[in-house]
Amino acid sequence: MNMETERKEAGSVTGIYQELEHWNVNTGDKTIHAKRMPGFFRTIKNYTQALYLLFFLVPYLRWNGKQAILFDITHNQFHFFNLTVLPQDIWMLSLLLLLLAMVLFAVTSVASRVWCGYFCFQTAWTDWFTWIEDKIEGNPQARRKLDAAPWSAGKIWKKSLKHFIWMSISLLTGISFSIWFVDAYDYWNKLVHFQLPLVGWVTLATIFFGTYILAALLREQVCMWMCPYARIQGVMTDSQTILPVYDFRRGEPRGKLHRKAGEGGGAVQGDCIDCFQCVQVCPTGVDIRDGQQLGCITCGLCLDACDSIMDKVGKPRGLIRYASLNELEGKPARKMYQHPRTLVYIGIILIAFGGIVYGLTHLGSVVLKVIPERQPLYVYLSDGSIQNKYELKVLNKTDSDLRIGVTAEGGVRDQVIIGAEKPLLARHGRSTSFTLFVRAPGQNIKMEVTPIEFRIQSIDDPLIGAEYKTKFNGPAVDLGRRIISGMGNAK
């Protein structure tokens, strides 16, 4: 190894250390105090985040005297207005999750991290919390000053008020989360009387501390270092995806705005006046001019800030704007349908949606399962007939008890069903089981296993019914049958 290579290798190691000094990694050592500015994207963000009012309010909605939307975990039921979904139909939930994931992917591939910037609860709660901070402690400069100031009565008052309101919102968040799973009014009643079950307290405490720690204390650190979706979505964008970008061709070289022409020494200057407004408004402390980066949640607040400055200095808006990297680099923009990845996502979305629609329209009111007795498979009776025992499980998804009749299709000639002479009562909202016997003359049994299909039908509403295919077991064909007939007829 000659001296030159050695020096080169040593240099590359030193280079890492030097690079380290330029790395701007947000490790949360400094609180980010972002400036709040009005603007187009700010307004959109306010509206999208307001959707979370539904999270707080919907559980109080009543429908037919019951909570309209209730994920009733204690009773294993999901109520959605008139619809009741039992655990048996929960496969639709996996399709729903697939659908949501694909919507996230598709939107991200088209318009980058829209979820992060406008819809994510972490973004929303943090935004509200910092708004409260802004109202109590003042603008970012005032906040930094207050943070640095020694403790005084005024500071203690402001800080405690802020934390009190944050905690109140966190508590309300915990309560609102809980009442999606239990009756809202009943929950409040138990809560104010301190009679919640242990699991209720644990849930409340988890969401309370979760909200307070994540939204009030950790804030953008969650997006940077905890959230997997930030990273997953980060790799879903490509050169066709539109995202908030700084038009470096137009902006560079950046520099302070000069009042008089020529004052800048005659050098060609870009549109960026290096005012740092885009950095100051950023809730995650990113400098968008460094290019796309992990910390950017694509909330568009820097677009608002930059546009307002461009207006002031009399230059066209859009120095920072939603654009694809292709567009930015002057490459021809491709059409949406030329983006196969998005089309694949949309395809999966349609399949999942189709599955859910099929599931919801084919829920059925009752489900029948029949379990034939295995020990013994069949019983010889005194008159030479063969009896099979079945357990019928009738899942009644309607909200009233049903009287049902049982018939059988197929099976053995002259068979009789014993145990369903009177209508059976299938309780609502759960599975009721009944034991039935099917008795068939031995000489009529032609096969060791005869297919039989049980059918149930509501006595009161013939439209409600279900069927189940199962088997009637008998002795082996050529042996058993002859034995029974050969034993003679007792008269």
């Binding site: 009776l381 059988a408 197929g410 000639r413 007792a490």
Partner: protein, 315 residues
Amino acid sequence: MSEKHEASGVSTTGHVWDDDLADLTNEPPKWWMLGLTASALFVVVYWLYYPSIPFATTNGFFKGIGGWTAIKEMEADVGEVEAVRGKFEARLKGMTPAAILADSELTEYVTRSGKVLFGDNCAACHGQNGIGTHDKEGLFAPILNDDDWLYGGKIEDIHASIEGGRQGMMMAHKDMLSAAEIDALANAVAKGQPTSTPLFAAKGCTACHGEDGKGNQAMGSANLVDKIWRFEVRNDKLNDAENMKRLVEGSKRTITYGVNSGDPQGRAAVMPSFKEAGKLSDTEIKKLAVYVYKFGGGQSDAPAAAAAPAAGAAK
């Protein structure tokens, strides 16, 4: 130690290699130290709360300040189950078996919870789910899920059988009948047509089995005209003739040596009294009666309910 690293400005351990690689003496992050401390505290609390080290104390060993033991936890769990069963059990106590049977909820409870009781006390002879057990001489204990009953299939009869036990009896006929006569009778019984031979009436079989051969449940004599035999069961793996042979041989044996006749080769057919044995409580006997009744062979007091013909059955 005091050396500062030039790029980061942090102290190093003093060890430098490859020109400029060094170990920085950064402190672990605060959250990590907090986690470590909290884990250590947790260990101490856990160690004190649960039984950890068997220090001898005045009453046994130190069980931790929480007083937790596996037995207590198990008892609490059992208590939970008992609480659920308790309300059913309390109702069962004052009811007759027939009344239990009339209550669909209690019947459901009994059929679900009776499995263990049956498995512990009955299945040894009658088989799991009452399918009967066999020894080399044939069927050892009767099948309970068919509709043929030696002592009656009404709920009261079944209850009486379990409570008081049963003892079959049939004298040995080896000294009274010739081999040919026994052979003729056995063949008739195996065919299910005992009255087809005049010997049946002539040799006094009718005294116990009735003139029509249908037996007498009051004394537990078997019905000889149906297709169920007490000491033999059809083997579906054998063919017609082989089965018939087994039935004939079995019947011969029963007629020759009797049942509980004192003859060493006689059939044994004894069911103990579960009340006398003191092993089962009254409620448990009632539960078992209902459980057995629900195997499928139980007979109601009322004339057999008209069975609904299966609609659409192949004609």
